[in-house]
Symmetry: C3
Subunit: 395 residues, 3 copies
C-alpha cells in the first residue's frame, strides 16, 4: 500500500529493481469482445488509454499487482496478456491511492482506468473475464489479438511513427468477422442463427466484414481533423491534426497516413506517408509496396499537390504538383527541357537533374511539376510554381 | 385572435404595416441539438419545413407572436434567432386558428409545425429551450449555426439555386463534431468520457467527424431520386429529381449538384453544377474553384457524358463527351482537325472554333467529343455523335 | 402425414406425379417488409434459405401444403407467390416429421425454416401475413418483388451464375425506398411524418435511398471474404470466396462480381465478371454494357492486374497487366512492336496478333501488358511478365 506519493515512488523502485521486472514498450488494459460461439476467441480489444514508451511507474504497478494476484507474469517473452481479477484491482487501487483523488480530466489516465474498473456497476454485464492487461516487451511479431490491437493503437494515436513498428503476423492474429456498428460478430454465429434471425426480423445490420476495425471506433481525432465517413480510415492509420478525409474515393489503410494538415480525397495505401500541407486530390492513388511501386514505401513531401485521378508509385518531394490524370511509376520516362533542368537543379543543388529521368530518380527532388504535354502525349517535368519551404527544424 | 380567414388576412396586414416589421428572405422553426458539455453550443438545427421568399403571412404571425412573447425582435439585422415559449405558441395558435383544421398533408405546413409543437407530449424529453425561430433578412454572412443551416436547407430543398447564396462564414459557424447516426456529439465530451464509455461497452459508433451533416439526415429526396450511400451527399448539395448517386467514387459537396436527372458516379465539387440528362462517370472529377480550375465555377451542360476517371477543370457544354481517362484543365491545349473545326462551328455558329484551342475556350461550346489520340497521345476534339437538344424554355 | 423417410419419399412421388405439379427453378419462404402507409406494397423480401434447381422434395411438400391450405396453386405461370397459414405450416410439419429431429446446422435447412416458423413466439410481432412462399417456374421477367429478390439471392449466394438469369423487369418491380439499416421505409411515409418526427427528435437515420438492398443485409460471405464497407456491394452481386472489397472507390453492382479470390479496389459494373487471382486496382473502372463498351459485357481473365485508375471497356484476358491510368476502350488503337507481336503470338497461338490492333481485338488474348509510352503518348501492348496459367479444368 502506498499512502503517499513518496511511498508510491519507493514502491515503483522496489518493483523495478526486482529480477523478474522489465519495462514494457507499450501497455494498457483492454476490454475484449469474445466470439459468440467460441468464447475463447478474442474478436476485438478496446483500450481506453494506451502507454507507449512512457508511464513506467504505472506499468510496474500493474505487473506487480498481477504477480500478487497469482498471474503468471512472464516478462521474458516478447509480450504478455493477463487476466485481471478483484485482487489485481485491489492491489492497483492500493498502489495508486495517492493519485486517485487527482485522477481526472487529462491527469493520471491509467489511474482513472483502474478506478473506473473497480467501480463498474454489478449490472454492467461485464466480468473480470472481459478485461485483459496487455504488455509488449519487444517489437516482434504479435502473438495475440490484444497486442495486435495495442500496436494499431500506438500507430493511430500517433504514439508510434508510421512504418516504425513490426506489424508482421497481425493479419494472422485478427479474425475476419462481421461488424454491426463497432461490435464484431462471428460469421459462424450468423450462419448458425440465420434462419431464426431472419424470420424473426432480428438479423443485424452488417456494416462491414473485415479483420480490422475502423479508426473512429477506437480513436478520437483532433478538434480540427475531419473524417467524413468512418469506413474511409482503417484502424492503424495515423492522421495528423488538421487532416480532412473526404467521402468520395478516399481511403487510408493501416500503417499509413499524414504528417500534418492534409486534404485527403484519394487513396493512401499501407506504408505510404503524406507530408504537411499537401493535397491528395479526388481519386488520386498513392500506391502501396505490393502494387506498382518498386518495393520502396512511397513518401509524398510537404506542400505538394497530387491532382485528381493522378497516380504515383514513387516518392514525390516537397512543393511538387502532379497534374490531374497523370501517372508516375518508378520506371516512367520523364522528359525535361534544358530550361526545366536548370530551374529544378537550382532548387535542388545536391541532385543530378537530366533531360531524361525515370520516376524513381525524383526521390528527394523538390519543386517539380509533372505534366503530360497534351499536344504530343509526352510526360514532362518542369519547375513548379510552388515555393519550397525551408524546414525550420533542418535549417 | 383570428377567428376567420378574413381576420387572419387583416392581422397579417396590420403586422406587416408596422414600422418594426420586415419580410424575411427565409424562415422556419428548428429543433436544435446542444453540446453535451457546453449546452450553449448549438451543434445542429433541424427544420421540419423551411420558407424561402414565400409564406410571408406565416412570417408575420411568427414575428408578431415573438414580440408579444417578449422576445427582442430586431429585424434591422441581417438575421434573427429567437427562443420560443408557451406564450409564443399560444399566440401563433390563436392567429392560425382558421387554418388549423385544414392543416394536414401538404397544406399549411407552418401551421402544422405550430400545432405539433403545441401538442408535444410532456415526456418527449424536449423543452421550449430546444427550439428556435430562425429568420434571415439579408443574404449576408451567416452569424449563427441556425441561419447557416437555414441556408443549407434552402439549397438542399431546391428553394434557392446552387451558387445563389452567400455561404461565407458557414465554416466558421459550424462546429466540428462526431456524429453517431444523425446525432452530433462534442469531441470533448467523447474525450471526457472515453474511459468510462469504453470500459462499459457504451462507446458510441461514430459514423463521421465533420462540421456539416449529411443531406439524407435532413432532406427527403424525390421519389425517383436515389442516393445509394448517405455519406456521398453533404447537406447543402442540391439534387434534382431523377438524380442517382452511386456508392463507388461519387461525392456531391455542398453548394453543388444537379439540375435534372443525372447519373452521378464521380465527384461534383463545391460550386459545380451538372445539367439534366448528363452522366458523371465512375471516378470522374469535376474540380472545384480551389483545385485546378482557373477560379471559375465549373458547369457541365445537358446530355453530356463525362467518362470514367475523366477530369474537368473547366466548363463543358451540352451534348459533349469526355472520353474515359481524359483530363481537360483550363490551360490544356486541344487540337482540332479542319473537319472537326467545321463540324463544331456548324453546331455553334456564335463561337470561334480553331485548330488549336485551350480547355477554357470551350465555354458554351456544345456537341464536342474530347479524346486522347491513342497513337500519338494528342488531346483532340471532334464533333460528338450526340444531338444538341434545343432547350424548350429558350427556343 | 409421413411417419418415416420411406413414407416421405412416397409422398413426394405422389405429389410430383400429379397433373398440377411442376418443379420450380427456385423457391423459398420469405419474410416480407410492407409499406408503412400502403401495406399492400412489399418493400423487401428476406429469405433465410433459397433453393435453386435443388431440393425438389421440399418444393413438393410446400406446394402440396399450400394446395391443402386452400391457396390457388397455379403452377402454369412463370412464378407463384402464396400466403402462408397455420394449415400450411401444419401440413409441412406433418410431411417433414421424419427429418425434424435431425434438421440442425447445415442439414435440412428448409425443414428448419418450417420448424422455426411454426414455433415463433406469439409476441414476435409478426403474423402469417408477413411471410410468403415464393416459387419461380420459368426464368421470365419477374412479376413480383418476392421473385425479384429470389433471383437476386440466386446470384448473390452463387447458386446461379452471373449473367445467367433474366433480370428484366426487376427495376420495375422494386420500390425506391429509404433504408435505415436494413429496414426499408416508404418515402411518402417519411413525408407524411416529417414534421412530427423531426420536432420530436425521432427522424430516422437514413443510410441510403435505393430500390435494391445491400448484399450484406441478406448474404453471409465466406470466411475469407472481406467487404470493408457494406454500401460497396449491391444485392445481386456475386463474390467468390477470398474476394476482398476495399472502401475507397470500389463498387460491385448487381449481376456482376468475381469468380475467385480477387482484390477489388475499383468498380465492377453490372454484367462485368473478374476471374480468379486478378486485382482491380484503386479506382479502376470496368465499364458496364451501357457506358463506353460496345454492348458486350466485359470479362476480365484470371491473374490479371488492372492498375490504379485504369479503365477498360472491353474484355481483357488472363495474366494481363493494364498499367495505372491507362484506358482501353473497344475502339482504342493499340500499337505493337514486331517483338511484341511475336511474343504475344507465341503465347496465343490461335489468335491473330498484328502491329496495330483495336481494344476489342484483344478478346481472349492472354499475357498482354497495356501501357502508355510516356515519351510519345502512344498506347502500346507488349508481352506481360505474368505467366499464363493453364486452366486445369480445360487442359
Amino acid at each position: 500500500m502506498a499512502n503517499t506519493k513518496e511511498e508510491f515512488k519507493q514502491l515503483i523502485e522496489d518493483v523495478q529493481s526486482q529480477d523478474w521486472y522489465r519495462n514494457p514498450i507499450g501497455f494498457g488494459i483492454a476490454r475484449i469482445d469474445r466470439g459468440q460461439l467460441d468464447s475463447s476467441k478474442v474478436l476485438q480489444a478496446t483500450f481506453p488509454i494506451i502507454n507507449w514508451n512512457e508511464n513506467f511507474g504505472s506499468a510496474a504497478v500493474l505487473l506487480n499487482a498481477l504477480k500478487i494476484a497469482g498471474e503468471n507474469v512472464d516478462t521474458k517473452g516478447t509480450e504478455l496478456v493477463c487476466n485481471i481479477s478483484d485482487v489485481f484491482l485491489e492491489e492497483c487501487v492500493k498502489a495508486f491511492s495517492p493519485y486517485i483523488s487527482e485522477a481526472k480530466g487529462e491527469d493520471h489516465k491509467n489511474v482513472q482506468v483502474i478506478s473506473t474498473l473497480a467501480s463498474l456497476p454489478i449490472d454492467s454485464g461485464f466480468t473480470a473475464d472481459d478485461y485483459k492487461a496487455v504488455f509488449i516487451f519487444e517489437d516482434e511479431n504479435a502473438q495475440s489479438v490484444e497486442t495486435s490491437y495495442l500496436k494499431l493503437y500506438a500507430l493511430s494515436t500517433g504514439k508510434a511513427a508510421i512504418r516504425s513498428l513490426n506489424l508482421n503476423g497481425i493479419f494472422g492474429q485478427l479474425h475476419n468477422v462481421a461488424w454491426t456498428g463497432s461490435t464484431p460478430i462471428e460469421l459462424d454465429w450468423l450462419r448458425a442463427n440465420e434462419i431464426a434471425l431472419k424470420l424473426s426480423g432480428k438479423y443485424p445490420t452488417i456494416d462491414m466484414v473485415d479483420k480490422f476495425p475502423r479508426f473512429l471506433s477506437h480513436v478520437i481525432p483532433a478538434d480540427n481533423t475531419r473524417i467524413l465517413e468512418t469506413s474511409k480510415v482503417r484502424m492503424g492509420a495515423q492522421l495528423a491534426a488538421g487532416t480532412t478525409v473526404m467521402p468520395g474515393a478516399a481511403y487510408i489503410n493501416f500503417n499509413a497516413g499524414t504528417e500534418g494538415s492534409v486534404m485527403v480525397e484519394g487513396r493512401i495505401s499501407s506504408s505510404a506517408v503524406v507530408g504537411a500541407g499537401s493535397d491528395v486530390g479526388g481519386g488520386a492513388s498513392i500506391l502501396g509496396v505490393l502494387s506498382g511501386t518498386d518495393g520502396v514505401p512511397v513518401s509524398i513531401g510537404e506542400n505538394t499537390l497530387l491532382g485528381a485521378n493522378s497516380c504515383t508509385g514513387t516518392a514525390i518531394g516537397d512543393a511538387c504538383i502532379l497534374d490531374a490524370g497523370v501517372t508516375i511509376l518508378p520506371g516512367t520516362k520523364i522528359t525535361l527541357s534544358e530550361k526545366a533542368v536548370a530551374a529544378i537543379a537550382e532548387a535542388n543543388p545536391e541532385k543530378e537533374i537530366k533531360t531524361l529521368m525515370r520516376g524513381m530518380d525524383f526521390l528527394g527532388v523538390n519543386g517539380v511539376h509533372f505534366r503530360q504535354n497534351s499536344v504530343n502525349g509526352q510526360i514532362i517535368a518542369m519547375r513548379s510554381t510552388r515555393e519550397i519551404k525551408l524546414n525550420a527544424d533542418l535549417h
